[in-house]
């Protein structure tokens, strides 16, 4: 979070109370606290906000002592509130830093929230599975989701409760950042891209699909492909506008039955107006789980020189319907079908033609450029990964409809 974003947030808050905000002054106050006095941004924001609130007599939301002792439902918690809740510790994670005493997830029957207990406040150690009453904690925002902060002013007491806690299951398409429980099937298992990663793949239910990750940790087990699981209290993160589930905090149990997984496919129809470099015949890194594209010198960005590469065909192009230009990526089987050029033929051409791989690029380009196609597939980071693609054919019914539209209204 940058200071100007914080400035904007403070300004909007005090403007909402009918007081004009001097953004420059607010930002310089923040900057002074952060840069000269080493205050962290959240604390600086709180300081400046409460100064301004005092100066202009603005009531701070939820900060009045009285209102925070009223018990709240976890699902209704929103950032910038002081709250009291009662809940059960459903997950504890290893502390990422000495300044954090404990972190995990606390839940009641309405929902769940991530919490962090700062060491500085000397909070009592909370135990997994135990119910607690937490008074005067602060809700703030961490990675776009509400987060409960337990600080020195927070009172924690154990609650004797054996109320069974049944997590409410959220359809995948309705997940929001924070904590979520799903009933979903493992539909894809990807190659792990990191040493610390235990498993990565795709989970889906009737409403859609979502990426999931499990990081290596004692006692964590992998999910089985094509198996349905009840997953309680996973962390929902957002990265580049897409959600993913981290299962390290979660409890997952295989369940009976099967799920017909809904596909959230996008369709794009239009002319191919650009064929990007990197299309045609490419060389891939042969190292298990890598498959990166090699440079002309057979150089993999990770595994260096790889003379025993394998060839592949692909097409990176732009499909344009006149209103929007979309990047698409097609794999070998589609490229072969669209261009009529097989991988073997392409390798043959590249090895015998004086132009080498450029010759294949030109052939692929000339076969598709300026022609109309309908593609569908999953969209990732603004690029359509095409699963199906077919040429658009001339439709005389459309011609008739357009003739009516053009002629009919002119008459």
């Amino acid at each position: 979070m940058t200071l100007s974003e914080v400035t904007e947030r403070i300004s909007q808050k005090i403007e909402a109370n009918g007081v004009s905000a001097d953004r420059q002054k607010i930002e310089s106050k923040l900057r002074r606290l952060v840069e000269e006095f080493g205050v962290n941004v959240a604390e600086a924001e709180r300081t400046v906000m409460s100064d301004l609130a005092r100066e202009h007599n603005i009531p701070l939301t939820g900060s009045g002592g009285g209102s925070s002792s009223e018990e709240r439902r976890i699902r209704d918690l929103a950032p910038e509130e002081w709250v009291t809740i009662e809940g059960k510790i459903v997950a504890l994670s290893p502390s990422p830093s000495p300044s954090i005493a404990q972190t995990g997830i606390i839940a009641d029957s309405s929902g769940a929230i991530r919490f962090v207990a700062w060491s500085r406040g000397n909070p009592p150690v909370m135990e997994y599975g135990q119910w607690y009453r937490i008074e005067s904690a602060v809700v703030d925002e961490y990675r776009g989701a509400p987060n409960l902060k337990i600080h020195s002013g927070t009172t924690i007491s154990t609650v004797e409760s054996d109320t069974p806690l049944i997590p409410s299951i959220t359809p995948v398409a309705e997940l929001k950042t924070g904590v979520g429980s799903v009933r979903a099937k493992v539909v894809q298992n990807w190659d792990v891209t990191h040493d610390r990663m235990l498993q990565v793949g795709i989970l889906g239910d009737e409403t859609g699909t979502i990426k999931f990750v499990i990081w290596k940790e004692d006692g964590k087990e992998k999910l089985e492909l094509d198996t349905v699981y009840n997953i309680y209290y996973a962390v929902v993160d957002e990265y580049n506008g897409r959600l993913s589930l981290t299962l390290n905090t979660a409890m997952y149990i295989a369940d009976e039955g099967d799920i017909e997984v809904g596909r959230n496919e996008t369709e794009a129809s239009g002319a191919i107006v650009h064929v990007a470099p990197g299309s045609g015949l490419i060389k891939r890194c042969p190292v298990e789980g890598c498959s990166r594209t090699l440079s002309r010198q057979n150089y993999c960005p990770v595994h260096e020189i790889q003379p025993d590469f394998r060839y592949d065909l692909r097409l990176k192009a732009v499909v344009d319907d006149g209103l929007r230009a979309r990047n698409v990526l097609m794999q070998r089987d589609l490229v072969e079908a669209l261009t009529g050029l097989s991988l073997d033929d392409a390798v043959e051409i590249a090895e015998s033609s004086p132009l080498g791989m450029d010759d294949v690029f030109d052939r692929v380009k000339n076969a598709v450029l300026g022609r109309y196609y309908t593609c569908s597939g999953g969209e990732i980071d603004g690029r359509l990964l095409v699963n199906r693609c077919s040429p658009v054919t001339f439709d005389s019914a459309e011609l008739a409809a357009l003739l009516n539209r053009a002629g009919g209204e002119a008459a």
Partner: protein, 189 residues
Amino acid sequence: MNRRQISYEREPARRVFASEFRETRVQFKASDDEKSPNYALLPSGVRANRILVVGTLTEKQRQGDQNIFYRGRIIDPTGTFFIMAGSYQPEAMQQIAKIEVPAFVAVIGKPNIYQTPEGAYLVSINAESISTVDRETRDIWVLDTARETLDRLDAIGTTDDSRKAQEEYGIKPEIYRKMVYDALTQVQL
């Protein structure tokens, strides 16, 4: 908080018939920024940084000694597009050099409007790429262009660009509808 990265988005290639395109006079930039794209304001009321035309390349001419460039004429059912491919468009230049006329081609390029000292307007396309296609693709393009032109005519008065175009050109939608109709009748069933 939403902090999605604002990524560069490619400008769509508008579909426009030759007889509308040759009436284009107005070019503008979206902002004062040096890198802001250049747009031509089409008479039917949409900005075009890039266009796609499919038609018959009937003529190509190589010109210039040191700075070689190609000129070409492309015919659609309503008229003629003039295209240029010079050393700033090496891909298009190499492609046009190989094509034998006449041929069905698809051209993707940028609108270019030039006013001669005598006051005449020369409207052409700086081609980014040219590829040979087939008859069916040409027919699909005519349908596509007809549909998008009719959509633009229907939207006149509802968008800023179309209001601006009405001020600049004051076109009569029924004349353009007639143009679209005539273009469609030339597509053989």
